[in-house]
Amino acid sequence: MRSEYKLIFERSREGRRAYDLPECDAPDAMNEIPAELKANAPLRLPEIAEIDLVRHYTNLSRRNFGVDNGFYPLGSCTMKYNPKINEELAPLFDNVHPLLDAEMSQGCLALMKDMEDMLCEICGMDAFTLQPAAGAHGELTGLMHIRAYHEHRGDFERKTIIVPDAAHGTNPASAAMAGFKVKEIKSAPDGGVDLDALRAAVGPDTAGLMLTNPSTLGLFERNIKEIAKIVHEAGGLLYYDGANLNAIMGIVRPGDMGFDVMHINLHKTFSTPHGGGGPGSGPVGVKSHLIPFMPVPRIEEDEDGQTYYLNYDKPESIGKIKSFYGNFGVIVKAFCYIRSLGAEGLKEASENAVLNANYVMNKLRGIYEIPHDRTCMHECVVTPGELMQYGVNTSDIAKALIDRGYHPPTIYFPLIVHEAMMIEPTESESRETLDEFVDAMKGIAEQVKTDAAAIHAAPVTTPVGRPDEVTAARKPVVKFED
């Protein structure tokens, strides 16, 4: 099974080529550029024939694993099916230059405006910007709104963002990047926000609280109304991390829970593919009191309601967070998803995501430990529990799952659960897929008891074994050297 795979650079042979350009119908003009501004050597890039290039990447793809290959219950990442029609339709806009005069790009502007309106309705917010390129980028953008809100009120003391210890790592990192201090609060024993800790944490320095609901434990925050009250009464704003929005579409809306600002991961909830780590898209929604601070440009209609235009004249805006208007191609795919499903279909997706998660959790009970055992939302968190006594840990179980044909769950997160495995099946999976996965988890638990060595050796079915990560970090090799 094990096999190394040549780099494209190792396949290079002098003189081979895959490109062709038309004959140049203009006279050479390189003499117009002084020698000292020109390159002094050819680029050291591969020289390769087209067929070898095609085989290189085709075979590389076979050393990878996507949702189309199999079950991918990666918690907090919502690895749902990526509909093919959306892949086909997004490129319809590939040739539209972003700086066309607005009269020439009305279709793109209309689509974005329609998307903003639908996201407002789904989330219960008053306005959306599609500019942020990913979830963490949305967090940063949203936090900039909170900062601008306080600054415009002349309140420069609100420098602290409160983040529960169960939060995604991006939350504190985004808060720091937005110029805030981060105050972490401990979770209550039931996994929710500890209200006393929150009351103790808020004060005149509180800019806001970042919260994921359902939480990273996959549990709905039952005290959300009280939490909102505490934060608002202290003068802070409430930020909703939309990573787990797939649990609640059409059921409850962040805007109605009391959140002032939020982001969505279109590449999670709205089915756009993750691309192996991007491109994503992280639209940010706000309540009316934050609209003046939204990034420019805003898409607006002219007075007769006939034409869309881009309005850059927003003096209180935080500015721009990205070139142009966002990851438009990703936005189109999410738009297609929402238009395909409609209100009923979105709710059906959330209901089945939650049903599938509870179905899996229920079947794993008694085999793996469930630290917060109550009805979960779209994901559940389990641990090896007593299996640890056989000398295996969560990572070993993850690697054993690879050999059984599954992408492992998110592991070692949330941080507040020791040896966590966070399982998010999504609505895309059939009952028999879930049953087979549960059987695999049971099989691993059995093997842990009888043959722990085999679990330690996993994975054995992959092209390579477990990487030596310590050496990778200590003596980093980040590019190929001839």
């Binding site: 230059h97 390129a133 991007g278 142009f324």
Partner: protein, 446 residues
């Protein structure tokens, strides 16, 4: 209604029964009743696949595009070899997540390692990350790298950076309480090097662009001298498709090279997704933001690729991370890497030469029209240049009647034109005739 849920109503009921519930509503008992939405979402009706196709076509018809394009200004139309969209459509790549599980993600990890190598070879620098969102956010991240490395909040930047890049840097910079100092352009349309030298005291470094927003190729080695003389770092924002023919960042002493990879095989797509690249010297590697793929071995000694130097990143360091970035633009990064492999050293040189040749031919023709002048006739350019003309808006309106997109009208009334290998000599004649007519007609009316 389209549904991507495989389980039938009957199966759902059975599954509910198995977990001791009667209805879907029981699953949501934790949600306070008064918060729950008591009505269906008010969204447009669900569409079948064929209806969806019609709807999207209706949006595309509202756009007017497809004719000759002479506009760049940060987004460039170059030829995209067909192998790129075909290969990137392998769903093992595009439906995967970030490669946390290295053993089953070698395809993506090796592709990223190759991408990083391509970026290092384009820029001549030592290390690259696996991408950030776009060129503008690369500039903002580079600004923070300078701050972290030098522990100084003052940074100089060129007025020749793309205005979007400047705005994004300011947006990030406001939060980081940076002191950003703009260095003006001189009479040749390139950054005033004396002004860089005069402002470097207390600064962590300087961020400049070549070619700059106006198309002018900047003498970056002079900027490097001015910056390094004061112990600062030089960041060069480059258009990567120039690097087959123009000097590379390492050649003139850049410490960090950044830019937008879009010209290398990515479609215009109304502004995104594109990809920001970042490369730097060995010394700065641990200040890089975001994912980095590295090489190591498994227990049998096989070469293995893995995400590395993660101690910089948000999921480990939380508020002390070098950046908050998590998802980036990996698929787009791989597309640029494929482009570099298709083109190779000779293709990159040829495409650069064609851009230079065609842009100069067109510029010459334009300037034969009375009343049109190059703004900076003595300054070398790659594929973009600025002309001064009285009636830029009328010219674009006239061209639009023939489905031609003319140069971008600048705030000061000038026009920024872009010519790539996708434009041809026949277009130049046609466009110049229309412009000549427009200029004549307006002249006649006066």
């Amino acid at each position: 209604m389209k549904s991507y849920v495989p389980n039938t109503q009957k199966e759902r009921q059975e599954m509910l029964a198995e977990i001791g519930m009667k209805s879907m509503d029981d699953l949501f008992a934790d949600i306070p009743a008064d918060l729950k939405l008591s009505r269906p979402l008010d969204l447009p009706d669900a569409l079948s696949e064929s209806e969806l196709r019609d709807l999207l076509n209706a949006y595309t018809i509202m756009n007017e595009e497809g004719g000759p394009l002479f506009r760049g200004a940060g987004a460039y139309r170059h030829y995209i070899p067909s192998v790129i969209p075909q290969l990137v459509a392998r769903s093992e790549f595009y439906t995967a997540y970030t490669p946390y599980q290295a053993e089953m993600s070698q395809g993506m990890l090796q592709s990223l390692f190759e991408y990083q190598t391509m970026i290092c070879r384009l820029t001549g620098l030592d290390a690259a990350n696996a991408s950030v969102y776009d060129g503008a956010t690369a500039a903002a991240e580079a600004m923070l790298m300078l701050r972290d490395n030098k522990r100084k909040k003052k940074i100089l930047y060129s007025a020749g950076l793309n205005p979007d890049v400047i705005t994004v840097m300011k947006t990030y910079g406001h939060c980081a309480e940076m002191e950003l100092v703009e260095i003006p352009l001189d009479s040749n349309g390139v950054t005033d090097v004396d002004a860089i030298a005069a402002n470097m005291d207390g600064a962590a470094g300087y961020i400049g662009a070549t070619p700059n927003y106006f198309g002018n190729i900047e003498p970056m080695s002079k900027a490097a001298e001015a910056v390094h003389a004061k112990g600062g770092l030089l960041v060069s924002y480059v258009n990567p498709i120039t690097l087959g023919v123009l000097a590379r960042p390492a050649d003139y002493g850049a410490d960090i090279a950044i830019g937008d990879g879009q010209p290398l095989g990515l479609p215009l797509a109304f502004g995104g997704p594109y990809v920001g690249f970042m490369a730097c010297t060995q010394k700065l590697m641990r200040n890089l933001p975001g994912r980095i793929a590295g090489q190591t071995t498994d227990a049998e000694g096989n070469r293995v690729f893995v995400l590395t130097l993660q101690a910089r990143e948000q999921h480990i360091r939380r508020e002390k991370a070098s950046s908050n970035i998590c998802s980036n633009q990996m698929l787009c990064a791989i597309m640029t890497s494929m482009y570099c492999s298709v083109m190779g050293p000779n293709g990159m040189r040829e495409v650069g030469e064609q851009n230079v040749a065609k842009a100069h031919m067109f510029a010459k023709k334009l300037c034969e029209i009375k009343g049109i002048k190059l703004r900076w006739p003595n300054t070398p350019f790659f594929n973009e240049f600025v002309i001064d003309v009285e009636n830029a808006k009328d010219i674009n309106d006239a061209l639009a009647n023939y489905s031609i997109t003319g140069g971008l009208v600048l705030k000061d009334g000038g026009m920024l034109w872009c010519v790539t290998e996708m434009n041809c000599a026949d277009e130049f004649d046609f466009v110049c005739d229309i412009i000549q007519d427009t200029v004549d007609n307006i002249g006649g009316e006066e």
